[in-house]
């Protein structure tokens, strides 16, 4: 197998390497790729939708249909991870662990014993013992709100600067994942339940597809944001701009929810009791 692999790789590699000579030089402004289609986008994105970040304009408007399916791919991945991994009925663990916070001692409570109530003093911790790190926990707690605000900025400012719904959504999801890593999975799930993430994922994709369907119902082609003009009371160009913002919001919600959902399932192998 190893030799076969090496042979395949060498043959493919040599073939591909030889053909690189045919390409236009790297950075050549006159290559067909730069001459044919992209000038239209660069010259017209402001005229068509008043979005200076051409990548956002192409992503959400000219090729918005691709992006809708990109969001669907993410949703499909979330559904797939859930479908493959999630187990509902889990046997109760033999023993559970609690930490007495003021003294930082760990208690192991065997089956049948009386469990202390969840309180500020006693906190349940994972059986795969993670050393309690005050600095880490406090820093993450302090930093998470700023990460989330930055994520919202990235989503909202995608028209003018790098970023947009997808990146913002991932950052937003990462903030929840950070919470799960720095404390434990239970803490994150207490903030954002699995059912909520699922519904948010559906709603996010629905915002995108629903905007498109609205355009189709209003008589224009699917995803044509200029139909929003009458609803929003602006001209067609600004309607496109706002339409992009709406769908980017949908993308952000869906991506954030699905990233968290995938993490919940992967880090606990579908049991969603404790992980990482």
């Amino acid at each position: 197998m190893k030799k076969l692999g090496l042979l395949t790789v060498v043959v493919c590699g040599v073939l591909l390497l030889l053909k690189t000579a045919e390409f236009a030089d790297w950075g050549d402004p006159n290559s067909p790729a730069s001459r044919h289609l992209s000038p239209y986008f660069l010259e017209n994105s402001i005229k068509d939708s008043a979005v200076p970040n051409v990548v956002t304009a192409v992503l959400a408007d000219y090729r918005g249909f691709d992006t809708m399916f990109e969001t669907t791919v993410i949703l499909a991945a979330g559904l797939a991870c859930f479908f493959i991994l999630r187990v509902r009925k889990t046997e109760k663990p033999k023993s559970t662990y609690y930490r007495h916070v003021p003294t930082a001692t760990t208690l192991r409570i065997i089956e049948g014993a009386v469990l202390p109530e969840q309180s500020k003093v006693f906190k349940r911790i994972d059986s795969v013992w993670v050393p309690f790190d005050l600095i880490l926990a406090t820093t993450c707690k302090a930093i998470i709100p700023f990460i989330q605000i930055f994520a919202l900025y990235v989503i909202a400012h995608g028209h003018h600067s790098p970023g947009g719904g997808f990146q913002g959504g991932v950052v937003l999801g990462a903030s929840i994942i950070l919470m799960a890593i720095s404390r434990n999975l239970g803490a994150a799930i207490a903030h954002l339940k699995e059912k909520t993430t699922v519904l948010m994922a559906m709603i996010g994709v629905f915002i995108y597809a629903g905007t498109g369907a609205f355009a189709a119902l209003a008589g224009k082609n699917f995803l044509d944001y200029s139909t929003l003009a009458t609803v929003l009371g602006v001209d067609e160009i600004m309607a496109r701009s706002h339409g992009i913002l709406i769908v980017e919001t949908g993308v952000a919600i869906a991506v954030m929810a699905v990233m968290v959902w995938i993490y919940y399932n992967l880090s606990s192998a579908g049991k969603q009791d404790e992980g990482l």
Binding site: G164, V170, L266, G275, L276
Partner: protein
């Protein structure tokens, strides 16, 4: 555009790529994959693809690495040969 930076980063990316598939410790491999993604993101930022670099920084170096590490924790850390 600095071609020196470009070449050095390309070299580092290739080294990280080879490292990620050859170390036996899978946790190390996951982290090297994260490093690989991050260097890739630097490379793209240098090439002017800021949006792609941003996405790769959040997805490739961030979430992918985390879920890779999570999966390694759920399975095994050692790879035989």
């Amino acid at each position: 555009m600095n071609w020196q930076i470009d070449l050095i980063t390309l070299l580092l990316v290739i080294i990280c790529g080879i490292g990620a598939i050859s170390v036996k410790d899978l946790l190390g491999a996951s982290i090297l994959l994260g490093a690989y993604s991050f260097l890739m993101c630097v490379l793209w930022a240098v090439m002017g693809a800021v949006d792609v670099a941003f996405t790769e920084a959040t997805v490739g170096a961030g979430v992918s690495t985390v879920i890779c590490v999570a999966a390694v924790f759920q399975t095994t850390r050692r790879a035989k040969n």
